[in-house]
């Protein structure tokens, strides 16, 4: 009977948590890379890893992907045994402030793979701004996003509609679309914060960049600013007049499906739209985009584009091989890898000239045209920095504004009160004011 005592002991020993397996010594360096497996998959990352291994025989890369990579990372971060390199959707700022990340400046200031410039110089100016803390850079995005308005060029040609450049042209176009029996705009209503980038773009069209960034730096009164209220009014008018009926109850895929099927003429979205809808886009559909229109009388830079770095990679301070991980990241974001990225995934890399000499799809070309005409890029960091603000007050206020239940003035006042809570809360970390980033 005594032997039964060993049964639970054996079970516990054989369980994965009690694994006694160790990394084999003498096998060189093994880099563990954990990748968020979203719409872009991990096949490109794997191919880069294989090329890196060929060029660096002493290094083997153990790369894995998971759509819920965050859940797997959290306990490992706490146990101080994280993978060497990761892309995830964990709040980067919380990790930076908690001292969990390794600064990448040494790698950024070293020579880029395949180019005679530093890695930092090889990236789109401004793309690293959101990841700088205490003079150091803690993350590098592997994707460049842009907030634009998408339309079907074939549908526009058929009806004689023209992409608008100004807000007046936009509303006139929307009236024309409505008259043709089509809803002017699809909207991802179940996620009201999809309107945040549009609202901030409208505000940018109205004010100089100094004032736009003052809002980002938590300047009191920014949300009750007359120009912000005007931007909110434009958004509300657009929502109540031109959103497809029922849009506020639609998910992102439902609303984008309405657009793909021609029942709505336009949709504001990022560059991931094609990848997200690729299985539903009918033959002959010609995706094209234009930037958020300028507003008549606005004092904002008309050629600034809302663009940001996404699919962000981080090296953990507790990683076993942080230097090697940073070097692999540099290789991943080299020009040859970026060309491959653009071609395979039909999206943009934050590496300069990533589309030069590469055959790209007409829809991506349309986005490239928007970005090529830009004078600078800007993007929000309030939503990422202050989750307490974005996941509660912002989300609900946007929903109430777009449904017409809340006046733009009340909307501004509510956001101002919510950001005041953030301002006053000593528990919430606020980075130093950054002003207008210098390219």
């Amino acid at each position: 009977m005594k032997r039964f005592v060993w049964v639970p002991v054996l079970i516990l020993l054989l369980s994965p948590g009690c694994s006694l397996q160790q990394e084999q010594p003498g096998a060189g360096i093994v880099l563990e890379v954990a990748v968020f497996e979203g719409g872009y998959g991990i096949e490109w990352h794997k191919s880069v890893a294989r090329r890196y291994e060929q060029q660096h025989p002493g290094i083997r890369i153990n790369l894995w992907g998971d759509p819920r990579v965050d859940e797997k990372l959290k306990p490992r971060i706490l146990r101080r045994r994280p993978p060497d390199l990761t892309s995830c959707t964990l709040p980067v700022w919380k990790l930076i402030v908690a001292g969990k990340l390794y600064p990448l400046d040494e790698a950024l200031d070293s020579r880029a793979y395949g180019q005679d410039i530093t890695w930092r110089q090889s990236l789109v100016p401004g793309i690293l701004d959101d990841f700088r803390y205490g003079g150091k850079t803690y993350a590098v995005p592997s994707n460049q996003g842009a907030w634009v308005c998408w339309y079907d060029a074939r549908q526009f040609r058929r009806h004689g509609w023209k992409p608008p450049r100004t807000w007046r042209e936009f509303t006139a176009l929307s009236e024309q679309v409505k008259a043709a029996g089509v809803a002017p705009l699809a909207f991802q209503g179940k996620y009201p914060t999809y309107a945040w980038a549009t609202l901030l773009s409208l505000y940018q069209r109205l004010v100089p960049l100094e004032r736009w960034y003052a809002m980002q730096d938590l300047q009191p009164g920014a949300f009750t600013d007359p120009e912000f209220i005007q931007a909110a009014r434009l958004l509300q008018e657009m929502a109540t007049r031109y959103y497809q009926p029922g849009a506020l109850a639609m998910t992102h895929t439902e609303s984008q499906m309405e657009w793909v099927n021609g029942r709505a003429a336009m949709v504001f979205c990022g560059l991931w739209l094609k990848n997200e809808m690729k299985n539903a886009i009918p033959a002959g559909f010609e995706m094209a985009c234009f930037p958020v229109p300028t507003v008549e009388g606005g004092k904002g830079n008309p050629r600034a584009v809302y663009s940001w770095g996404a699919e962000t990679f981080l090296v953990f301070a507790d990683a076993k091989h942080p230097k090697e991980a940073a070097d692999f990241l540099k290789f991943m974001l080299s020009l040859p890898s970026a060309h491959d990225y653009v071609q395979r995934l039909d999206t943009l890399s934050p590496v300069k000239d990533c589309v030069k000499g590469v055959r790209i799809s007409p829809e991506l070309q349309s986005a490239v045209d928007v970005l090529d005409r830009r004078s600078c890029i800007f993007s929000d960091r309030l939503a990422d920095l202050y989750l307490e603000f974005s996941r509660t007050a912002l989300q609900q206020s946007l929903a109430d504004l777009m449904s017409g239940k809340m006046a733009p003035e009340a909307f501004g006042a509510r956001l101002e009160a919510a950001i005041e809570d953030v301002r006053r809360n000593p528990e919430i970390y606020k980075p130093p004011a950054r002003g207008v980033p210098t390219p």
Partner: protein, 293 residues
């Protein structure tokens, strides 16, 4: 080793692992949740002791927690009253062997074999404002011009009422029916001889003799209403707003989306206490003299 000691060791060998697993995966996390509710912790860095600070914040006027309790109470009582009334009515009708009683019993119970997430998705489609929306298409056929956004945040709680009623009525009907079937037929025969009406029989025989089961049903509804999560989460696509948050969705959102583990676990502790108190109060209020038969 004596035989008794051997027996004890044998029992311990088999009881030990499940008890250890239960302690590891249930008791320890529960104790930890109580501990974390007294700390400020983002789940990434080092936790910091704040005492009852998280609870004070939750119970302050500006918190979403109080409105979340309101939503839980709405989702407990509004569908709950309808579910109880309909389940009792249908159970009584089936008990009276109305025509098609067997078919009704199966049909009403059917939603219980579907997972709650699948049910929520089904109702999302019923309410959809796109071409697939059953309800909006019906309203359109009746002359409604524009689709109604039933699942928009401000209307969502009301939209959940019919779904909850459709889902839960069958279960409670079967529960009550089983209780009714256990009541001896002789009571009804005697009542009929005394000239009791069907309503009188229900009020004076059926209801008192199934009171224990009815109490259990009410407790199920109260506990279910206070822990309401799945439908809100699915119908809001994982992003409930302050207009729709229940205590459970707010708890999840605080821990996993806002990285505020202290507040999230404080909600979990308050939810536990509320469920406990609500259950005890329900039992106390519904206590009656037991009728034996």
């Amino acid at each position: 080793m004596t035989k008794q000691r051997q027996q004890r060791l044998f029992i311990l060998t088999f009881l030990g692992p499940p008890l250890a697993l239960y302690a590891l995966f249930v008791l320890l996390p529960a104790v930890n949740a109580f501990r974390y509710s007294l700390m400020r912790w983002d789940g990434l860095g080092a936790p910091e002791w704040v005492g009852l600070g998280n609870f004070r914040k939750l119970l302050s006027g500006s918190s979403d927690f109080l409105s979340a309790i309101g939503h839980n109470l709405f989702l407990t009582f509004v569908p709950g009253v309808l579910i109880l009334a309909l389940a009792l009515f249908f159970a009584y009708m089936v008990h009276q062997r109305v025509w098609g009683a067997r078919l009704f019993r199966v049909a009403f119970f059917f939603p219980n074999v579907i997972s709650s997430v699948a049910i929520a998705l089904l109702w999302v489609l019923i309410y959809s404002t796109t071409d697939v929306g059953l309800l909006n298409n019906l309203l359109k056929a009746l002359g409604q011009k524009e689709a109604i956004a039933f699942t928009e945040s401000s209307r969502l709680l009301w939209a959940i009422v019919p779904m909850s009623v459709w889902t839960a009525t069958g279960f409670f009907m079967v529960l009550f029916l089983a209780a009714m079937e256990n009541i001896p037929e002789t009571y009804y025969e005697a009542a009929k001889l005394d000239g009791a009406t069907p309503g009188g029989q229900f009020w004076h025989i059926t209801l008192p003799l199934m009171w224990d089961v009815l109490t259990i049903g009410i407790i199920f509804l109260v506990v279910g209403g206070l822990k309401f999560f799945d439908a809100i989460w699915v119908m809001e696509n994982g992003r409930p707003s302050p207009a729709t948050h229940t205590m459970s969705t707010l708890m999840y959102s605080k821990v996993f989306e806002q990285y505020d583990v202290g507040h999230g676990t404080a909600i979990a502790v308050l939810l536990f206490l509320l469920v406990l108190v609500a259950t005890l109060v329900s039992l106390r209020l519904l206590r009656r003299e037991r009728i034996e038969y």
